[in-house]
Symmetry: C2
Subunit: 350 residues, 2 copies
DNA sequence: CTGTTAGCGCCTTCAT
DNA sequence: ATGAAGGCGCTAACAG
């Protein structure tokens, strides 16, 4: 019986064992383990060595139990009725039993995240009350300062969906929007195939960092790989259905040779309306973002050809896990927490 | 400041609180909590009611600590040098610190999973020694019996990558292969575009359940949505490079009008060789499975157009998490543990 | 600077 | 059928 066994992780030493081996007390090992002051340098060295030699891992369950007080995390989210954000909140809700069993309290804080001073004020108000904060952040100097202040106060901070790379946040939970735009471009180009013609881009606003990045990636690919397809100037629909429909309708009137359409943000219903009223919903290759009830239906109907998606459930859970790992001082499983750019077509709808 | 707060999970009751409220002792509550015998029916009812009324959640950390003995999980994996399986094993290795901190021991057991009696024997040998078993299973009556015996003995069992739906395994960690085949079909069809011609299918063996299912899904989509593309009879390459190259070379000789190619299993290097030697690596739309060093390179080179992938890291972690949740009696976050069918193209390579 | 000690909340014998 | 009591491994006072 060709059998071969290999064990991953087995050890079971305790703090006490380390203390004995190093010739010190429990408390001293604990101090070293948490880089707390009050230990002579060479004692530190001796203890660290013993820990390393034994590949000692403190038992998280014991540590958690001994802490006493529960951990509190805050999620600072946009106050408007954004379906994607609502999905994230819903998935947090699904975790409630999981959270309760670990004595973790998650609080949702709704704010106008598009107003830098309001958002910054909300962040300031959190100081000291939470072990960790996840925030859908606007990239603005005041917000950056707010984040940095929290970090300085010892709070763990992760940015969610929208990043502030220049801040000292511990982690970003979200996708690379430039790559997402490139992916959209490759799909539009490939799905259009041999045909030549024009490609339209509709964004919420080019002032939004994520939209701008997606457009950048999209244009990059179109220019370098599909030079036969002319890209029309970017339209703005403010992520609203009505406005999106109007600007697109006007565009369809002007150009009869549109073969592809990239919707960078929301306003999807408006896009679908404009396409069907122009009678072009089957001819134009239409790629957009996120899987919602609406995009799901459009994909099934064949109106939409592909959706670029970031998994909201994954983002919700990753944010909690990363905040928890940071708070505990545990390593982060980076491959697990990385948010992928999903290509969703009709047959692999989740 | 438009601010609104909402708390998810807050409680912090303990077993003792429940005991006092129900007018019984700690031990009795514990018995009820774990459906252990030795409690009068109406006491059970009273305690359960108190638990429900307070939405009481036992603290996992305390439970884990009190158990004393560590948990042992076994992963029964194919013994051959399969790159995909090696990836799963590597990701398990990456979790070792995480596992150690939770006093979980994971053991890899290499077996000839393609021989039903050998696999069944391996499973039998595990009885009683493990809290949970993950197995890459062949769908065969003897294997099914082996799985059921383990389940009956109280071991938690999950099937990994390859399922035995008729067994009583607690969970399947893997993708829906029919949907994966459909996704491949939709991609080949859409990427071929206007051109007409023939589509080739290369599988390892049609006797393998997952390969058969993928072919089924693929053919379904081709027939219903791309009737203009003729599907050639399925070739078999035994997942070997040499053989795959040979059978494809012969096919390319016979048919000058091949526009699409679906590689259902492994042997990818052979496929690439055959394509380039026939000078058709840029004209034929080539879709295959899994992201490996090789398929990654082929995607970047433009030889391969898309890879259908199941995330091996996700599968490894999901298997561990599900076994752990089952062992603890915790609910499973089904959306988290579901393995998605990933479409990977050049621009969204992970 | 270092050690001692009392829990954290639950599980598990062992009594009753 | 039920209860009492001792730990599991770590943290956090408090002593020295």
């Amino acid at each position: 019986m060709a059998e071969d066994t290999d064990t991953i992780a087995g050890a079971a030493l305790t703090l006490k064992d380390i203390a004995r081996q190093a010739g010190v007390s429990l408390a001293t090992v604990d101090r070293v383990l948490h880089n707390r002051p009050g230990v002579r340098p060479d004692t530190v060295r001796r203890v660290k060595e013993t820990i390393a030699r034994n590949a000692f891992q403190p038992h998280v369950a014991a540590a958690e139990l001994a802490r006493g007080r529960p951990r509190r995390f805050a999620f600072v989210m946009p106050s408007g009725p954004n379906p994607f954000m609502q999905q994230i909140e819903a998935y947090l809700g699904e975790m409630s039993a999981w959270l309760a069993a670990r004595r973790l309290a998650v609080e949702l804080i709704a704010t106008d995240v598009f107003d830098a001073s309001v958002l910054a004020a909300s962040l300031e108000a959190l100081a000291g009350d939470y072990d960790g904060v996840a925030v859908v952040a606007l990239d603005h100097p005041r917000v950056r300062a707010g984040i940095n202040d929290l970090v300085d106060a010892g709070t763990r901070v992760v940015t969610l969906v929208s990043d502030v790379p220049s801040s000292r946040r511990h982690h970003y939970i979200g996708i690379d929007n430039i790559a997402a735009g490139r992916t959209a471009g490759a799909l539009v180009g490939r799905l259009v195939g041999q045909k030549s013609g024009k490609v339209a881009i509709l964004a919420g606003s080019q002032g939004l960092r994520d939209h701008a990045e997606r457009i950048f990636g999209f244009s990059q690919v179109m220019a370098s790989e599909f030079p036969g397809l002319g890209v029309l100037p970017v339209l703005e629909g403010r992520d609203e259905d009505d406005r999106s429909e109007q600007v697109l309708a006007r565009l369809f009137d002007k150009h009869a040779d549109i073969v592809g359409l990239y919707n960078v943000g929301a306003g999807t219903q408006g896009v679908a309306n404009a396409l069907s009223e122009a009678g072009r919903d089957r001819q134009v290759v239409f790629v957009g973002h996120d899987v919602t009830v609406l995009t799901r239906r459009l994909l099934l109907q064949g109106v939409m050809d592909a959706a670029i998606s970031q998994n909201p459930g994954h983002e919700a859970r990753a944010a909690v896990r990363v905040l928890l790992a940071l708070a505990r001082g545990e390593p982060i499983l980076s491959e697990q927490e990385k948010i992928r750019i999903d290509i969703v077509m009709r047959d692999n709808l989740p």
